[in-house]
């Protein structure tokens, strides 16, 4: 994992001191709320419906055990004993008190963490494939580049006051687990025809009220030109982005209004003007960063573990968990463990301090001290010996973390919605809980197979509903919550935007509608056909007919 250098350490500490002074001045009245608001937002502190909310950055979703224990400590000491992992691989605390926040930031700085640029019209936390460095299908580990972008974008003077917030995602694999097409800039490490590794660069993707998929502006970009090319994109956006209208200010609108071809032409034109060697760090700096992401020292193991096979044969629950939650590692004898934060009927993405500590202990003892946060609001132990899997599972079970539902119907993404969020128009968590209970029987979930249900409590789409195989958007009409359903969305390498199937449903009937959609799929699917494949073959009509005939 990357470790702060002297500059990082000094800079983060200075920001804590600065914010402590700002909070003191706010409490004393020297600063008005109007003056203070932009300052607190720059440090990730929102005022939500019922309390302040602090959003802490988890750079490209990577944590070590010390950091996770610190997050647990903060949950206990300054919040209500839990935290909420988000769709941007961050963690949010829902109940911090204003005078405590500088102390929280001090504790975070102790473990090389902060909340800078988790809000505001700047480049936000760069997200990445949660299996980076471990996945078998990876061309190259994307994290060194994510770290490079973190350093480049932190307090970048030119890009600190953009027309709107800006999100970058990066993957090193052909299977897209980072939803790159839904980001302002999406990056995929890929091989050129002659086998050289570079980046495919996408721009103009996004969710919100106007969902759009990113377009490829460069099929292949040499790796050492990354930052210079990003600067060209940022400059075109910074200059022409719609600052006059908040709802049209994201880069997706600019790309759409100019057209992909003209946008690309302007980026390439700008790129010619950029002094690339000045922007890119010296080669030895990238080597220095890469060294931090060197693979752990693996044991030389056979890929098959007789112990694992025996445990799977003896314990059906464990075998089911391995089947859904454990995936292949590039190193023989090792596996990637996905930890579900989606217990049936639970709050998606929430983890208690005890659960955080349990995961930290497991990471330290069994996963080379590494933890990942996923954009689907789960956790990952990326480097576990296959022979350790049974013990890891037993420990997870003790802490309520062994649900064998990764990628199944109850692995639901949900934003905080109107239970917490000041922008929300409807609640989303109770809907996810209701659906989770309805479809929760594990045999039924396994029969349904891969299914991504995603719920947002307002049009801003933090719950990624546009990318849900079944997407649900909570709105309000005449004092009642109602829920619009979209079908056929996907955030993977075959990205698509879900289509609205018709009039919305009340909070009492939306779960029935989802169940009807699922049952319709089960009735019409062909052998081995997933929900998404079936929807793409059948189109919306059979689902519409079933839902609106019965509801």
């Amino acid at each position: 994992m990357y470790r702060y250098d002297e500059f990082d350490t000094t800079f983060v500490r200075q920001r804590v001191d600065q914010f402590r002074d700002q909070v003191d001045r706010r409490v004393s009245g020297e600063l008005t709320e109007e003056q203070f608001r932009p300052l607190r937002l720059m440090n990730g502190l929102y005022l939500q419906l019922h309390a302040y909310m602090l959003r802490v950055a988890v750079p490209y979703g990577t944590l070590n055990s010390r950091q996770m224990r610190k997050l647990a400590f903060i949950a206990d000491e300054y919040d209500k004993g839990y935290g909420h992992f988000t769709t941007r691989q961050n963690i949010q605390y829902n109940w911090p008190k204003l005078p405590d926040v500088p102390n929280i930031l001090d504790h975070l700085a102790d473990v090389e963490m902060h909340a800078i640029q988790t809000s505001g019209n700047c480049i936000r936390n760069v997200t990445a494939d949660q299996w980076a460095g471990a996945a078998g299908d990876e061309v190259e580990d994307p994290r060194p580049y994510a770290e490079l972008m973190r350093q480049w974008s932190s307090l970048h003077p030119e890009f600190s006051f953009l027309p709107r917030k800006f999100k970058i995602a990066v993957t090193g694999a052909a299977s897209d687990r980072a939803a790159i097409a839904y980001h302002d800039i999406g990056l995929r490490l890929t091989r050129s025809a002659n086998g050289e590794i570079g980046f495919e660069v996408l721009a103009g993707g996004g969710m919100g009220r106007t969902p759009m998929l990113g377009v490829t502006v460069r099929d292949w970009l040499p790796k050492d030109e990354l930052l210079a090319y990003l600067e060209a994109i940022m400059r075109v956006y910074n200059l022409h982005g719609r600052r006059d209208n908040k709802y049209k200010a994201r880069i997706k609108i600019l790309v759409h209004e100019l057209g992909a071809e003209e946008f690309t032409r302007q980026v390439e034109e700008e790129y010619k003007r950029i002094d690339a060697p000045r922007v890119m760090p010296p080669a030895q700096e990238l080597v220095r960063i890469k060294d931090y992401f060197a693979p752990p020292v693996y044991e030389d193991l056979p890929d098959q573990s007789p112990e694992l096979a025996r445990c799977m044969s003896d314990d059906a629950d464990f075998a089911q968990w391995v089947d859904r939650n454990v995936v292949a590692h590039k190193q023989p004898g090792y596996a990637i463990v996905n930890i579900s934060l989606k217990p049936v009927g639970g709050v998606p993405g929430d983890a208690s301090s005890g659960q955080m500590r349990a995961v930290a202990d497991l990471a330290e003892q069994k996963s080379h001290d590494e933890i990942r946060v996923t954009h689907e609001q789960n956790l990952v132990l990326p480097h576990v010996r296959k022979s350790d899997l049974y013990g890891v599972w037993q420990t997870l079970k003790t802490h309520g973390l062994a649900d064998a539902n990764i990628g199944l119907a109850t692995d639901i993404i949900s934003c905080p919605g109107l239970d917490y969020c000041a922008l929300a128009t409807a609640r989303s968590i109770p809907i996810s809980q209701d659906i989770s209970r309805r479809l929760g029987d594990i045999s039924r979930q396994r029969d349904i197979g891969d299914l991504k249900i995603k719920i947002s409590g307002c049009i801003n789409a933090c719950g990624h509903h546009h990318a849900g195989h079944i997407g649900i958007l909570g709105l309000e009409k005449r004092g009642e919550e109602y829920y619009q359903i979209t079908l056929g969305g996907s955030g993977d390498e075959t990205a698509s935007i879900g289509e609205i199937i018709g009039p919305g449903f009340s909070s009492e009937t939306v779960t029935d509608a989802v169940e009807t959609i699922v049952d319709t799929y089960v009735g019409l699917r062909q052998d081995g056909e997933t929900f998404l494949d079936a929807y793409r073959r059948l189109g919306p009509n059979p689902f519409k007919e079933a839902v609106y005939a019965t509801h």
């Binding site: 004393s28 009245g29 939500q48 419906l49 019922h50």
Partner: protein, 109 residues
């Protein structure tokens, strides 16, 4: 100029120190419960509520004060807007973690 209102109003804000939802009561204090909220039934009294709230902004006790329309029922004032009803009720989930919750796990209020 008197505040234009369409029905009874109360004044709400968030407490500066912790963001808690509070209401301006008749005795001039800010309370976490809506039950003691001072109800303005005329435009002049609504304006007076706003003026009183402004003094608490000056003394840094509360932030973002605003009037909300309520319906006066036998059991007290109930906000007209759905969002305000949810805001007052607190999260409807995770009662075990949440001091402000009404204790219901789903779809209360």
């Amino acid at each position: 100029m008197a505040k234009k209102i369409t029905g009874p109003q109360i004044l709400t804000a968030n407490r500066l120190s912790d963001g808690m939802v509070v209401f301006l009561s008749a005795d001039g204090t800010w309370r976490a419960s809506i039950d003691a909220a001072d109800v303005a039934r005329t435009e002049d009294s609504a304006s007076a509520l706003e003026a009183r709230a402004a003094t608490f902004v000056q003394t840094n006790e509360i932030v973002d004060p605003y009037l909300i329309a309520v319906e006066e029922t036998d059991t007290g004032a109930v906000p007209v807007a759905f969002r305000e009803r949810r805001r007052i009720a607190g999260p409807s989930v995770q009662a075990a973690f949440n001091g402000q919750s009404n204790g219901s796990l789903a779809f209360a209020g």
